[in-house]
Amino acid sequence: MAKTAGGAGLYEVVWPCGERKQKIRPLAERLDTLNGKTVAQLWDFLFAGDEVFAALESKLRERYPDVKFVSWREFGTTHGVNEKELLASLPQRFKELGVDAAISCMAC
């Protein structure tokens, strides 16, 4: 601890946080249209995500009649005890299912 001329203590202190280990990474390239594309639905099985996806499907089909969806039922909950394993499996599952994009919910 440093001292001021008047004798009052001055403290020189460090930062209490740790270094960020996750570097900033780019997002995936976006699609040019949803027509003819397959969109995966990912749900953590909380807060009426099933109803939200039903409404979204209808609106997206209205705008993009050829859009296809892979239901959340295909993947199971993304917020279960096996979350890490399930998320790690998604890229391979998407490849198999011909997925082009994903909608993930529900952050509450």
Partner: protein, 465 residues
């Protein structure tokens, strides 16, 4: 679920994350920790739990859908993060009051005065571990920050710990970083807080309270280590209220619960450390995230059969919506309710020849709830659908004990098996009370770590008489 979106984006799949209105700030902060600060989100107006199906549909069509389309078709602008200080860099120089104001304004403190983390004080803490100060104990979500031995010492200083608590603090952060515990869930809705259980000779060596008032502040080791835990969640993991910490009401931190190992030894019951897979006499920390707790006052009786009906009733009643961690609403079989018996209660039970396993078995058979109530938490009162207990039993996901008949009033277990109950002994030795903690399931699953002492421990820490 932004973590799912991050995985997809990393693999080359564009995403839109749906985020409720009250969680947009959390989403923005969490995205940074995931390394994608420009992760696009679409707003869910209000909260689905407080809307009719028609209202929810209307809001999704009116607001959310267009944002989803924008998110999948329009490339979000890149974002950069400001530079941050190095670990040993002096970030501020000032008086005690100025340091505290500086830390509070930057959300580095919990609102109570902190001990200024000077290099001198940090070195004193580091002298109580043989570990390299730069060793990374884990990378903690939501901010994906490295928790090092150094940053543990910094936050230990700030919390008001003494340097000799350092081995406990290191073990706690190793436990926090264990994926089984799931620190990333620490900011979720229930606002649960962690119970730290301490075992081993270190309890007496460092003067932890393990008797009357064990859960009360007022004892430096118990209190300051408890405070350290929450400072670590703030500064090492990045859980900040109104941002990444979205506990609806929250809790203050819990002080450390040290077991009464003398009382346990007298009645021949193993300490919690043994239940967690360590040897008796090992110094250990166990962490488990609790949604709440209650005292069972004046447990009366001279035999287990007389005492335990009240205890089982209390254990069962403390569990409410948390049953969904057992029955599949959120997970199957991850609920770990915890019972704390005072030494006199434990010894009275043991006098009848009962071990801890007998208590757990009794709780399994008697701490139950009606099937209709367990189903109500999933199907009607809250929104964690499972269909029915019987359906889950038929699918092989729940043990048969959950569907022994079709009677909605049948009593069903609150856990999968007796060992899911944790039984501890602590508190006022001569008082006939018990304390029950309700658990937060896999969102803070019990994890234990051995406390590594430095080579110089015996020379520097006086053995208790």
């Amino acid at each position: 679920m932004l973590r799912a979106s991050e995985v997809c984006e990393s693999a080359g799949y564009p995403t839109s994350s749906l985020v409720c209105e009250g969680f947009l700030g959390q989403a923005a902060a969490t995205s940074v920790g995931l390394g994608m600060p420009n992760l696009p989100v679409a707003t869910i107006v209000g909260h689905p739990g407080a809307q009719s199906s028609e209202e929810l549909r209307d809001n999704v069509l009116r607001v959310t859908a267009d944002q989803v389309i924008d998110n999948l078709l329009g490339q979000p602008a890149e974002k950069a993060l400001p530079p941050e200080p190095g670990a040993r860099e002096i970030v501020f120089r000032g008086t005690f009051e100025e340091v505290n104001a500086h830390f509070y304004e930057r959300e580095w403190s919990d609102g109570l005065p902190i001990v200024p983390p000077t290099l001198e004080k940090i070195e004193a803490f580091l002298s109580f571990t043989d570990r390299d100060p730069d060793e990374i104990l884990g990378v903690l979500l939501p901010e994906s920050r490295a928790a090092t031995v150094w940053t543990v010492a910094v936050n230990g200083v700030m919390a008001g710990c003494r340097p000799e608590y350092m081995p406990i603090l290191v073990a706690l952060i190793e436990a926090m970083a264990d994926p089984i515990y799931g620190v990333e869930h620490s900011g979720n809705t229930p606002g649960s807080d962690t119970l730290i259980i301490l075992n081993g000779p270190i309890i007496k060596e460092l003067g932890f309270n393990y008797e009357q008032g064990v859960l009360r502040d007022g004892f430096m080791p118990n209190t300051s280590v408890g405070r350290f835990w929450r400072l670590a969640l703030r500064n090492l993991a990045g859980f900040l209220p109104h941002k990444t910490d979205k506990g609806c009401f929250g809790n203050t931190f819990r002080v450390v619960l040290a077991e009464n190992e003398d009382a346990l030894a007298e009645i021949g019951w193993p300490p919690n450390s043994v239940d967690m897979g360590f040897a008796a006499g090992d110094n250990t920390v166990t962490i488990s995230r609790m949604t709440g707790s209650a005292v069972l006052a004046s447990v009366t009786g001279a035999t287990p059969e007389q005492m335990l009906p009240y205890v089982a009733d209390g254990v069962a009643k403390e569990t409410g919506w948390e049953i969904v961690f057992t029955t599949g609403g959120l997970t199957f079989g991850t609920l770990r309710p915890t019972l704390v018996l005072t030494p006199i209660l434990a010894s009275t039970i043991a006098r009848a020849g009962w071990g801890k396993d007998d208590v757990k078995r009794y709780l399994f058979e008697h701490a139950r709830m009606p099937a209709w109530r367990a189903e109500a938490f999933s199907e009607t009162w809250a929104d964690f659908p499972i269909g029915s207990l019987k359906r889950q039993v038929n699918l092989g996901r729940l043990p048969p004990a959950f569907a022994e008949s079709d009677d909605p009033n049948r009593m069903v277990p609150i856990v999968f098996e007796p060992d899911d109950f944790m039984v501890l002994v602590s508190g006022d030795p001569m008082r006939t009370n018990a304390h029950v903690f309700c658990h937060n399931g896999y969102l803070g699953f019990p994890v234990a770590k051995k406390i590594e002492l430095p080579r110089t421990w015996a020379e520097r820490v006086r053995k208790p008489e």
